[in-house]
Each structure stands twice: as structure tokens, then as C-alpha cells.
Amino acid sequence: MTATEAPPATTSARTIRASQTDAQGYPTEPRARWIRRAPLVPAFVFMIVVTQLPFVATLVISFFRWDAFRPDDRGFAWFDNYVNVFVDADMRASVLTTITLTVSVVLLSLVLGLGVALLLNRKFFGRSLVRTMIIAPFLVVPVAAALLFKHAIYNPTFGLINGVLGWFGLEGVDWITQFPLGSIIFQLVWQWTPFMTLILLAGLQSRDHEVLEAAGLDGASSWQMFVFMTLPHMRRYLELAGLLGAIYIVQNFDAVFTITSGSLGTANLPYTIYQTLFTAQNYGLASAQGVLVVIGTIIVSTFALRSVSSLLKEEASR
């Protein structure tokens, strides 16, 4: 990226042919440069064609009137679709739903994940078995997990929650109707806590044990060590886990589709775009929605990229 960036690991190997490489060890001859690029080209071209061209198409279509139900009225529409997106109350609601859903799932599963990781980071009988049990929710097909919660756990008459409440003589409620968004959040937290746990556990295990031991001998309490040593060390891991989790949860479609079918105020952006596309068949409007989602994501992911980039820089300077 910049000239100051450390040359990659194998500089010494290339000093053998020093005459053909520049100061940083990259080849200068065009032919040598292309030989070096060759292994990368197929993957690079593949990604451009399959992921970038559709976005360009989305961008173009977003400026057109294109509604499958009105095939004769097709044409350039300037920013009409964008205006319609902003005017649409459902769309604004789904932006809010997406934010609520993402933030609450990420925060809850991060906090829970940290707790679980701290518990798992200790030696106890059957630790690897417990670790496996905790990972398991993440390894269920998302649609299957959502179906399981919808029918076997939340169902007011045969669901597990109300059944167990019944054992204690308590009256349950219709969870999905009463707490539609809460039901989705609860299911996603169950599924994403393992993800957070795994990343945070790796962070905990990379702490310097000698330093921790020394602090313990110097009389630091467990709480002091947690606040002044563990948390600062874990900051990077918490950021990484949170950001990666957010990327996946912002895009969640399966849980919303399965548990509530987007009803009762739970339609998030992916679900709304899906609806515009397939129920309303309004391609222009769906494209404008898509473009706006991309812009929103770019703003958020700039922060995410910065965080990941610090990890990469650290590696480059190692």
C-alpha cells in the first residue's frame, strides 16, 4: 500500500536475483511481474465478474423505471426510485428494524460469548465436551434452527418454553405474536454466541500467561486483572468478533423469513428488498434499495476494514 510497508516474508530468497528486483524485493521486469501475478488472475477475474458486475448492473437499473407489472412504462427515471425509497415508510421502518436487530444480537452475543469464553478458558472436568456442546448451535443449518425455534420452542401450545412453564403451573404466552422481534433476536443470539465465544476464547488463550501470573503474585485481584489486563488485550478480539458478526447479521434473511415471514414489524432490509423484488416485482425500486444498503454497509465496513487492517499490518511488521 505504502512505501513504508515492510516487504513480505521472503525478501532474502530474492536477493539471489537482486538485479531484477527493486528495493522492496518486487520484480521490476514486466514479464517477471506477470509471472508473479499469474496465480492470482483467475480468482481475481472470477470475483470481478461474479460480484462486481452485478453491482454495476444494480446501480444502472436503479436509475430506471422498471416494474414487471407495467412493462410499457420503462425508461430513465433519474432519482425517482431513490426518492421513493426515502418516502416509503416501510423502508424507513425496515432500516430501523435492521439496526435494532443487528445491534442487539451482536451486543448480547458478544457479552454472553465473553462470559462463556471466560468459563471455558479454565480447566475443569469434561472441558472439551462442553466446548463441543457450545459450538453445536452454530453448526445447525440456519433455516433448520429457525424452524426448530418457531415450531418446537416458541409455539404457544406444543412449544418447549410454555410446556416447561406449565410444569411449574405458569401460563405461557404466544411468544412470536407477543415479542416478534425478540423471538428472532433470541434465536439468533443462541446461534451466534458460539461464534463470538470461539473468537474470544482464542483471544483469551493468546494472553501472556507469565505476565498474568506475575500480576497474581503481586496481589492483583481477579477483577483487577480482568479490567486492567484481560479487557485491553481483548479489545481487538471483541472488535473483530463484533464486526464480523455484524456483517453476517445485517444480511440475515433466514430467521426473519422463517420465524415471522417479515410480519409484525420484523421486516429487515434484506427481507424488504426480497419483497420488492418478488412480490412487487419492481426492479428499479429494488435496485435503488440495494444501492442504498450498499452505501450504508460501506460506511459501517470502513470501520471494520480499519480494524482488520491493523491485524494485517501487525503481521506485516512481524
Binding site: V141, L240, G290
Partner: protein, 296 residues
């Protein structure tokens, strides 16, 4: 390091605040039990899923949870169409095909790419890495519509090949990042020795790199397989009758009511089984894959 060195000056606090190594037996036992309780709580919904799938529909739909009801394979027989004639096999095979072939494609593209980004890196290798990563950040749903229109125009809607190419693009960034994290761990001296011995690119790749990173490639492949197997939005939009995948088949149960509870749980279990197996097989490398190689 001994306790003697620290004790004299910090006597007071050391006594009141025991360090990690001196925590009482009770605390340790309590926290161990807490870990077990949390583990059981997390796995409970899955245990309930499997248990319900093995119950009769009558027991499954009982308002009071029937933990000790007799076990039966009725739910599984129903899922595979004993009475209704429904046949989930084409969907399961489509999923296996889409996930399997897309994973092979990903590995074939990602291994050389990761090589060109680590061992003999191209200039601006980190920019390229971020390009791959940024495609993961873009919401897939925004690219969905043009793909749908293109597929319609080319008459490849409901074609499993179109779907698996998209799955390959979906997983390629993860694979490149993950494989690169394995490649940078290989000591450069190894490549020096190989190039001094006159080994070319292909020989180096085959004789040195692949043997060392094959566990990493296996883990990468398993994780890509899981993501492709799980995917539902694209599959639902781009397939119809002949090419629909297992998660799409599952969406048929979204509106079903309690009388099919055992069957729904059997369906969820069957469809999740390959992912559970792949996930447990890749358990050690799961973190590295999920964090795209950022955490080891």
C-alpha cells in the same frame, strides 16, 4: 518466580485478594459446574430437536413436554415421504452437489491466489486482500436482482450450476484469507532451499506447499462447504423446481402447524447433519476460518 519475592511489600493485599493459582476449591468447582450448566443450556434446543424427531406426532404435539415417550422413526419415514409421497432426495443431492462442486472450485482458485499474496507476493498484495474482503462486506441481497434478471435472460434459472458459481464467489474471499494465513506460517527458508535446488513454481507448490498446508486446505474446504450448504436466499430466488436445495426444501415447513412437529424436527435434523459432521471435523480450525484467518 516464587511467592516469597512479592510477599513482603504487598502483604496486605496479597492476603485479601488471592491470585488465580490460589483460588479456593469451591470457586473452581462452582465455575466448572457453571460451565457445564451453560453448555447444557446451549445444546438443549438441539437435544430437544433430536428427541422430538424420534417421537410420534401425538407425543410431539403434547402440550406437556414428553421427555420419556417411546422412540420411533415415524418422523423420519414421513420426511422421506412414506405417506405423503414427498421426496427430499433431489433437494439433498442438489445441496451436496452445489456445496461440493463450489468448494472444489473455490479451492482450485484460492490456493494459487493465496500463494501470489503471500509466498511470492505481487506488489500491492494487501490492496488485493482488501478487495477480496470487501466483497464479503457488500450485502449479497443488492447483487441478487441483476443475477436473477441475467439468469432469466440466459434461461439458466433453476440451474444448479449457476447457483454453485455464486456460492464459489461467496466463499472465495474466506478461502483466500484463510489459506493465506496458513501460507505465511511456512518458514521462508524452505522456499529458499527449494529455489536453490532449482524447483519451479509447480514443483514447489506440489512438493512443499501442499503437504504442509493440506490440513489447512481441508479445514478451509469444510468451512466453505458449510456456508454453501446453509445458504437459502439465493437458492430460493434462483432455483425453482428441479434445482432447489435442502434449505429451500425446509422452507416448505415454515407454515406447517403442530401436527407435523416430529416431521419438522426430523427434517431439521437430517438437513443439519452434514453441517454438524463437517463442523466437528473442522473444529480446531473453525476459529481461523470464521475470522478469515485473522485469529489463529
Amino acid at each position: 518466580m516464587t511467592a516469597v519475592a512479592a510477599a513482603p511489600t504487598r502483604r496486605v493485599r496479597a492476603a485479601s485478594a488471592p491470585g488465580r493459582s490460589r483460588e479456593s476449591r469451591g470457586t473452581r468447582l462452582g465455575l466448572g459446574l457453571a460451565a457445564w450448566a451453560v453448555g447444557l443450556l446451549f445444546v438443549l434446543p438441539l437435544v430437544w430437536m433430536v428427541l422430538t424427531s424420534l417421537h410420534s406426532e401425538t407425543d410431539a404435539a403434547s402440550p406437556s413436554p414428553q421427555v420419556f415417550a417411546p422412540l420411533t422413526l415415524e418422523g423420519y419415514r414421513e420426511f422421506f415421504g412414506a405417506a405423503s409421497g414427498a421426496n427430499p432426495w433431489p433437494a439433498l443431492i442438489n445441496s451436496l452437489w452445489a456445496a461440493g462442486v463450489s468448494t472444489i472450485l473455490v479451492v482450485l482458485l484460492a490456493v494459487p491466489a493465496a500463494y501470489a499474496l503471500s509466498v511470492k507476493p505481487v506488489r500491492k498484495w494487501s490492496d488485493v486482500m482488501f478487495f477480496f474482503l470487501s466483497t464479503k462486506f457488500l450485502p449479497a441481497v443488492a447483487g441478487l436482482m441483476p443475477l436473477y434478471l441475467i439468469a432469466g435472460r440466459l434461461q439458466i434459472l433453476d440451474n444448479i450450476w449457476f447457483l454453485l458459481i455464486i456460492y464459489a464467489a461467496m466463499n472465495l474471499p474466506i478461502a483466500v484469507w484463510m489459506l493465506r494465513s496458513f501460507l505465511v506460517d511456512i518458514p521462508p527458508a524452505l522456499f529458499e532451499a527449494a529455489s536453490l535446488d532449482g524447483a519451479g513454481l509447480l514443483t514447489t507448490l506440489r512438493r512443499i506447499i501442499l503437504p504442509i498446508i493440506s490440513p489447512g486446505v481441508a479445514a478451509t474446504a469444510l468451512i466453505c462447504f458449510i456456508f454453501a450448504w446453509n445458504e437459502m436466499l439465493f437458492a430460493r430466488v434462483l432455483t425453482g423446481v428441479t434445482a432447489n436445495t435442502a434449505p429451500v426444501y425446509l422452507t416448505g415447513f415454515v407454515t406447517s402447524q403442530g401436527q407435523f412437529l416430529a416431521q419438522v424436527c426430523a427434517a431439521a435434523t437430517v438437513v443439519s447433519l452434514p453441517v454438524l459432521i463437517a463442523g466437528f471435523a473442522a473444529q480446531d480450525k473453525l476459529v481461523q476460518g470464521l475470522s478469515m484467518g485473522a485469529v489463529k
